[in-house]
Amino acid sequence: MRVRVLRERCIGAGQCMRAAPEIFGSDESGGVRVESDAPVGDSEAEVLLAVQLCPVQAVLVADG
């Protein structure tokens, strides 16, 4: 699984950082930054939840 975020869409809701704290972190302005773009194990399920919880659909995943 590969994770990508659309930073220009992010509104800072924090849902991804709460759902998958190892994968999503804050950039210098407080918006989202992907800390690790290839989650494994439990983190994969957390990322899929983050995709659902993001209110502006800024979290994207792809196979690979």
């Binding site: 509104i11 800072g12 924090g14 709460r18 804050s26 407080g30 919880l53 502006v56």
Partner: protein, 406 residues
Amino acid sequence: MNDTPRSGDETVRFPMARTCPFHPPPAYEELRRRSPAVRAAYVEDTPLWLITRHRGALQLLCDSRLSTDPRRVGHPFAAMAAHGRQRAGQFIDMDPPEHDYYRKILISEFGYRRARELRPVIERTAHEVLDEFAADGAADLVGQFGYPFSTRVICHLLGVPAEDSAYFHDCTREMIDSFYDSEKLPLARQKLFDYLDSLVGRSERNPSTDTLIGRLAARQRRTGRPDHDSLVGVVFLLLTAGHQTVANMLSLGTYSLLRHPEQLARVRADPGLWPTAIEELLRFHSIVDWVGFDRVATEEIAVGEHTIAAGEGVFVLGASANRDPEAFLDPDVLDIHRDARRHLAFGFGVHQCIGGNIARVELEVGYRALFDALPGLTVAAELDDSCFRYEARTFGMSRFPVRWQP
């Protein structure tokens, strides 16, 4: 096919009041079963649509064909829309792209990281407020804890001087109480505007980066935006949205936990459970319902077998969506162990509550500090209807008498 009321059909009248502190208006269940979109008559017989289910609510709150701008014809709150100077900066009533500028410049103030940084200040504030009455053995948690705590946090956050917090609290109260009064509302609004106008003006002349207002004033010097009226509007919005909601959740959530002592004992024994418990309390109480999810269609939108026409108003019933059995098993049961994170207590889409990160910290800190500081906390008396704000646009408590062993 639209289910416009036929002769003999009973028209669904809206809004509906709650009749129990722990549940949405009883008619929601039937409406939700009937259809994902129900036609209703709002005050003065304005026809509009109620969105009743979780799935439809998620979809519509992300649908760019719905506008939050109350100046648009057909918007449910069109009669109360702010115009001119009073509209500036009120990004809750703006659509993208105008809206997005404000959300972007506020991420650093309300994002996840900022909320974590604020935790120590929020903890200090909670203890400060509790210290004022912890030795008394009895208190009204609404007036002595919920409001002072949430008001002081938001004032600190924005840079409203502590000595002005009572004045600002009275102003917001007046505004909220005159929601349906088209004569009083603009006057109450003006009073708070005048206060913030001068507060922001002082900050613009001498921006201090210690406060949110100061940082926005500094940004204005650097970039020319947000201009004075917009800055006043932003602060107005953040102040009025940010404290009553937290205060209401603090007292209602405490009341719920006291009624479920086994769940309270679990979360107190394992504080790591608080975040999960808080999501469930937010879902269960859903204190901000339709009033936060007011929209008007700018184009035709199909919902199930119904069609919302352009220019028709919409209320998404967040409190109904949060009790949708398709989304939450046994939705009418409070269960702090369930995963309630898909709730809509903060809304969804670009307008999702900007204060969600900070509110979660305030609630966790508030509940924990409260139960720690007031051992053996119990409800002091039978709570009658006067303790609950059934008619208020944001549900909450007006009084919450409690006792403990100091």
